[in-house]
Symmetry: C2
Amino acid sequence: MSIKSFHPPQRILMGPGPSDVSPRVLEAMSRPTLGHLDPVFVAMMDEMKTLLKYAFKTDNELTMPVSAPGSAGMETCFVNLVEPGDKVIVCQNGVFGGRMKENVERCGGTAVMVQDDWGRAVDPQKLEDALKAHPDAKIVAFVHAETSTGAQSDAKTLVEIAHKHGCLAIVDAVTSLGGTPLKVDEWKIDAIYSGTQKCLSSTPGLSPVSFSAAALDKVKNRKTKVQSWFMDLNLVMAYWGGSTKRAYHHTAPINALYGLHESLVILQEEGIENSWARHQRNHLALRAGLEAMGLSFVVPEADRLPQLNAISIPDGVDEAAVRSLLLSDYSLEIGAGLGAMAGKVWRIGLMGHASNPRNIRTCLAALDDVLGRMNAPIQRGVAVAAANKKLAG
Amino acid sequence: MSIKSFHPPQRILMGPGPSDVSPRVLEAMSRPTLGHLDPVFVAMMDEMKTLLKYAFKTDNELTMPVSAPGSAGMETCFVNLVEPGDKVIVCQNGVFGGRMKENVERCGGTAVMVQDDWGRAVDPQKLEDALKAHPDAKIVAFVHAETSTGAQSDAKTLVEIAHKHGCLAIVDAVTSLGGTPLKVDEWKIDAIYSGTQKCLSSTPGLSPVSFSAAALDKVKNRKTKVQSWFMDLNLVMAYWGGSTKRAYHHTAPINALYGLHESLVILQEEGIENSWARHQRNHLALRAGLEAMGLSFVVPEADRLPQLNAISIPDGVDEAAVRSLLLSDYSLEIGAGLGAMAGKVWRIGLMGHASNPRNIRTCLAALDDVLGRMNAPIQRGVAVAAANKKLAG
């Protein structure tokens, strides 16, 4: 056996995440490792919490990164808030609503599913109806920005309905945080989780979460122990909680946290509202190019996420072959469909650091070339100009 | 709010982990991020599995890093192998045996505790007696290298006893992997977990694990679903399993995996037996210096881990003040006591990249200075010479 050091190629990451990571973030990851209880590191943890509160627009004291990817952030919310026997209304309009159901059931809860079409927003009326039919429900859970389809839902309204019926609201913001308006306190969200590898443009592996006082109250007053030791907020709080004294729970992923810290500093420098506006502006430019080419969006305009563009695959085109050519000839990654949408769509991300005019132009030019070579039914030679016109305002 | 980029100081990490990280590993973390299904990344995953099999000395097909720290590796073993109602014998001789008990109980199992003194190896006879008293036990769990005390147990013998009584064996190798002999296949260990931030000298945040065919058989034939979606090996195997086709489960921590890959390449270059020998050689040199100074080990010689040296605190010395001075004046981190040993011991790690003569000399000189300034009852000016004599052979 003789395995050498691994030297990855430089990609352009325009799939559903990970997105392009800023060189500043990559460099931060390589800074000297500190101990997880080093006073200098502990001071950085306080900055991290402040930066995450800024990104989430919240004053929630328990706002921190879970030391594992977004799926573990999701599980952290469910294992802490769902007790055996609890009824949870789960609104599903894509893959990740299904994962929420799995979480509820593995916590011993009952999931009442409210189904919406994939690629559409969650229908508030259906949630209202479900809550009327299930007055004993304790929690409502939904995905703000469905990474599998590129649809966004009206989180503010859905949380209002949940609260009206005495439920706590758990919100998946994996793909929305940093890319599209998200206001945890104003919208009164009780528990929220996100990922680092989408619009924050850090590397994958951490999951920012935030919990309201009402949610924490429920966690602290559970009848049963949280089934996960690693994710039990009652224990994690000793390390990440409000006290200035930080006690060991698990060893934090120090260098990954450096990267997240740097990505949040970049977000703060840009200003979060400016970041939202940039994602929207670049989405419109990409859209102009794609539509000029004759490609069409899966999600109706009103429900569309700016940072994740799900596009129907033109008739007769081998979608996997297109992605392979984009990767080999342009070092450009776009995403395949997931779940029920596998084989039917491409997912083109414009997230965080990757949401920029250069990437839009490269992606459109590459699609023009590759689809043209495959004789796909598209309009050639027009996409980049259409995007440029939009970018010029 | 205006938070700046975070620039940590350069420490010498001689606590219980994280240990000093090689510049090669830090540089690897900053390489360009790839998608988690990129063919180039998938090829790297195969190398990672090969390298981990080498480190664990196993041919187990399911040998991979869990995408979260060692505590999550522990939980991965327990949630997959323990079903509600299962009886598990847990041998405890430090903090981490207690964490195993928490895990068993949160899985709905019954933990039968076999207690040994902290700072001593697990007594095989006590395990034998417990298994005779509990013929319905299904699993035996113990810690190979107790990070809280610096004691190592005879894993081979304990696993033999477990098997003789028809039990699977779960082994905590967080601090042993790479630093002291560990032979998963030869010792017939069924499930094992480790960490990246100890003798592998990568950054914290991942947990290498390995499962025997017998363990996987149990996982695949469970009566109940694994309570954790994130850690369910039946799902994780779609991404990390034997097939060459890798399907999305969660988004892997790409750049952290680059770091681990590099640290395993370094281990392979050195040769694992050479790494074990280096840890032992450096331990003896540190020991010579500490004993010349008049400091004493907590763990009897036969049970001592070479990579983690637990030292009694001299009478009348403010142990926290000593650690503070080492940090401020030498940028040197050593560990405090944990659990029942808090305030009673220091834990001096010589792990992975940190296990080298320069660190030994720096640590001894720094202790000589700081303890001297605090008028501790030590012999001054002799420690480094004693270590040098040992290092010279």
